[in-house]
Symmetry: C2
Subunit: 320 residues, 2 copies
Amino acid sequence: MSVAKGDLYMIDDLIRKIKEKKAPVVVGLDPNLSYVPESIQKKAFIEFGETLEGAAEAIWEYNKGIIDAVYDLIPAVKPQIAMYEQYGIPGLVCFERTISYCQSKGLSVIGDVKRGDIGSTSEAYAVAHLGHTKVGKNELTCFHEDFATVNPYLGSDGVRPFLNICRKEGKGIFILVKTSNPSSGEFQDRLVDGRPLYELVSEKVHEWADAMGRGEFGYSGIGAVVGATYPEQGAALRKIMPDSYILVPGYGAQGGKGEDLTGFFNEDGLGAIINSSRGIICAYQQDKYSDYGADRYAEASRAAVLDMIADINGALGRDA
Amino acid sequence: MSVAKGDLYMIDDLIRKIKEKKAPVVVGLDPNLSYVPESIQKKAFIEFGETLEGAAEAIWEYNKGIIDAVYDLIPAVKPQIAMYEQYGIPGLVCFERTISYCQSKGLSVIGDVKRGDIGSTSEAYAVAHLGHTKVGKNELTCFHEDFATVNPYLGSDGVRPFLNICRKEGKGIFILVKTSNPSSGEFQDRLVDGRPLYELVSEKVHEWADAMGRGEFGYSGIGAVVGATYPEQGAALRKIMPDSYILVPGYGAQGGKGEDLTGFFNEDGLGAIINSSRGIICAYQQDKYSDYGADRYAEASRAAVLDMIADINGALGRDA
């Protein structure tokens, strides 16, 4: 099924930016106070004390520095809500503020929320992250990401409310298929009728993507998460879900390299977007970028983004 | 392995209250604005407008009415964070306020958050919901539930940070094993070496529970979620995880009845806690309790709690 141009605008918009910037990459904004340079922490603590508000302010300044330094190079960011949730309400205020700021800079925002529940509850999550909340006569937004990640363990009726909201709002989701962590195989790789569980999940993703229709570039707004740390599985899953974008975490700090990633892409050079979090936002703490020092942490992040783009484009055999 | 009395205090505390109140039940505080009587909504909207703040204020008043009406009858509540998250930051402020208020009334609080991610990220979720966040010299709390629900799809390294925080803080978790929704079987029931996936998950739960040790009543702080809508599976899983408490959603509005639930309990009469959400908090909207009317919604909830306790104790062959 094909849909009218523009109906899936968030995925089309994301792909347009990936092509323009020649950068199939996403920066994971997963801050932890231990990543934030001392000088930024100190300034925030003077104003707000060593409180959750102080931590959130420090993280906001840190995020803003990185966003300002890299937004022109990349199509999208992926804030991981857990890293904000650990600073309570002030942390979640910072999460929303970060999303708004990224969107004002023209970036697509993938909320890495990994939500998933039974139907009526998943609907509330979908509304919170991608939709509108009805209060009296008003339709209000809460966290207004462009995309969200979704956990499929509860089955179709936990995913369907996300599909409905995506259809209504022109937004997208990435469903966990094969995650990047070492023990992802414990349940995801178990063989069902001789095939790993993650393959069954990927078939469902394809079914949902197909029902949703394809946009301007031939892709659906319903994508999948497959870890960079599992390149062979990535190549196999690429074929099962041809119209789904694959969000690929695990590059950099978790061990994935550009050369491992070619199988995640389709022949059109599209179909995958590679995430790096710590590898970019903590670049200044790595030997390779240590010359920048903590005060120039944002410049270190920019250098790391440029290196990442070159690595991936090099592996794909094209110029950045 | 057995641990010193008191080390697992949250599970011991919960069981003590279940015994004292003769009520193996938990009330799900899963509010939606459509459940809140008009008069409460109106009052909140006059003060805060038809905003997220207004919605959160209405829900807080509604929750408070229910808690005040039922707290003496029950050991625990289970707020579902999605229902608060859909009202954004003000909704999450209401979530925390509800938790604090319930704890001040002596109730155990199970945060139904179904979080789960790769290791470092799960750690942030565990800190947010059960632990302490380090900011400078301070150790602060965010949502401070006594228990949380956890999604196991990412495997051991996604669960381990929760286990570590539970050990440190004396708290507990309930891991999703077999959920109550109609399509839970889509992935959870798939046969792996001839046995359903949820059984493999339950064996892991038993392993984790065993490593954690047992408290005063012989139970571990590591429990499981198994839906009331699957009584046969519940009875089988009961045997696989003898020292784990089972949190049983799906009673009432989702179709589960007291007579279906006996298999979820151990022979000591303990081992399960049955949740009802809409069946209690929206009792006034049901034919059975409609005489109370919207203004006496909290009394209707109290009547529904009493009926639920009698139904379950009746099925277990004991007096309330």
